[in-house]
Point group: C2
Chain length 230, copies 2
């Protein structure tokens, strides 16, 4: 359990640390400096992030990879299996059903829902698509606590309410709309056009066509320069 309030950015980095050391030998001892290089941050940041949760390192040596994997997995809760409900099996939803990255983190889409009669009853990726109306009962009976929303904007709030009725405590929302949730439920949003708009901003107004196109200056920032690779 954390000693102090943990920044959300720390949680995201923990996930990246885990991803980065997955392939390494369990017995290897990795200094914060090396882990930092792998993920593109500083050694101080790595130590600070880990120290929220305990003392995992060996002073003078570094962090044992096996121990690190174990501890981070435990902290994030990905050492156990998470059952997930997916709502909306359109193009994006179907892609999420097939997404191979989830399994590795103990994430399993166990129930899928849609309101399209031509889809209901079909089985995709081993998961049977059910009527959205059944969300509350299916989730309650299966104890599913996490939901993913991949519906159109128009259905997102309604579907959210059903997920919460079914006992969901965490929601990942892909619909580009603000959804409201009661206290005690955690929401994360992924909005693809916000991502691309942000890129658009950093590129300056150099898009094609359109009218007056002032260059907004060169604010491009770089994650890491190619030089660092050498």
């Amino acid at each position: 359990m954390p000693r102090f309030r943990v920044p959300e950015a720390t949680i995201e980095r923990l996930s990246i640390y885990l991803r980065s050391i997955r392939g390494l030998n369990e017995t290897r001892i990795l200094p914060s400096q090396e882990l930092a290089e792998l993920v593109g941050t500083s050694d101080a940041q790595v130590r600070r992030d880990l120290s929220y949760f305990g003392e995992f390192g060996v002073p003078g040596q570094g962090y044992r990879v096996g121990k690190l994997k174990e501890e981070i997995s435990r902290i994030l809760g990905v050492d156990s299996i998470w059952w997930i409900a997916l709502v909306g099996v359109g193009n994006l939803g179907a892609a999420l059903l097939a997404y191979p990255g989830f399994k590795r983190q103990g994430l399993r889409i166990k129930a899928a829902f849609d309101n399209d009669l031509s889809k209901i009853g079909k089985i995709w990726q081993g998961v049977r698509i059910q009527d959205v109306e059944k969300i509350p009962e299916v989730l309650s009976s299966q104890g599913i606590k996490m939901g993913v929303i991949a519906t159109p904007v128009s259905a997102a709030q309604e579907v959210t309410d059903k997920l919460i009725e079914g006992g969901v405590k965490g929601i990942l929302n892909f619909a580009p709309v603000r959804i409201l949730i009661p206290e005690g439920v955690k929401l994360r949003n992924v909005d693809l056009s916000i991502e691309l708009s942000a890129l658009s901003y950093f590129l300056g107004n150099t898009g094609v066509s359109g009218e007056a196109k002032e260059i907004l200056g060169t604010r491009q920032q770089t994650e890491q320069t190619k030089k660092d690779r050498e």
Copy 2:
């Protein structure tokens, strides 16, 4: 052009402001307070965000919706059309090709690439899929400056290098791996399993199965309580 250094979070919020006022009457005058409520932030935050780029409001009144749309679109660069190259037309790539949210922001996938011979030459969503080997030449000749990577991890860096060779200045990466880019190129990453891992953390270790499952405490935070809706 911005007066000071603009936080990345401000850019993301601008995009949300724009999304929120899209349906409103152009002549309506919206106080920062009301816009803040729409998007779930504070009035001070709204004014601060906008003030980086000029004085768009009318003291004593608020912000004219039409003016706001115009200015934010211009700031973000979504008043012109952005041509985008998509690399990797698997499940996720195909979903992105079909994604309806892009068009609204002036984002057009104009070229798609894959290395799968059975896909090359086919047309999906009106876009012909071409060989990844052709990325540099196609992008140069068409002047495409933005790329989306939806390939497996194993291909992500190679494909990045080709995009950059073709003159791309902004990349949205869905592959769950760190990719390296030269200075002057802007990268954003969307990692779906990081999103779900973060949810997992906030839910505490209440996933099913697995061994020792300590509850990490109740750190759940809420975007907005349901009460606010009333």
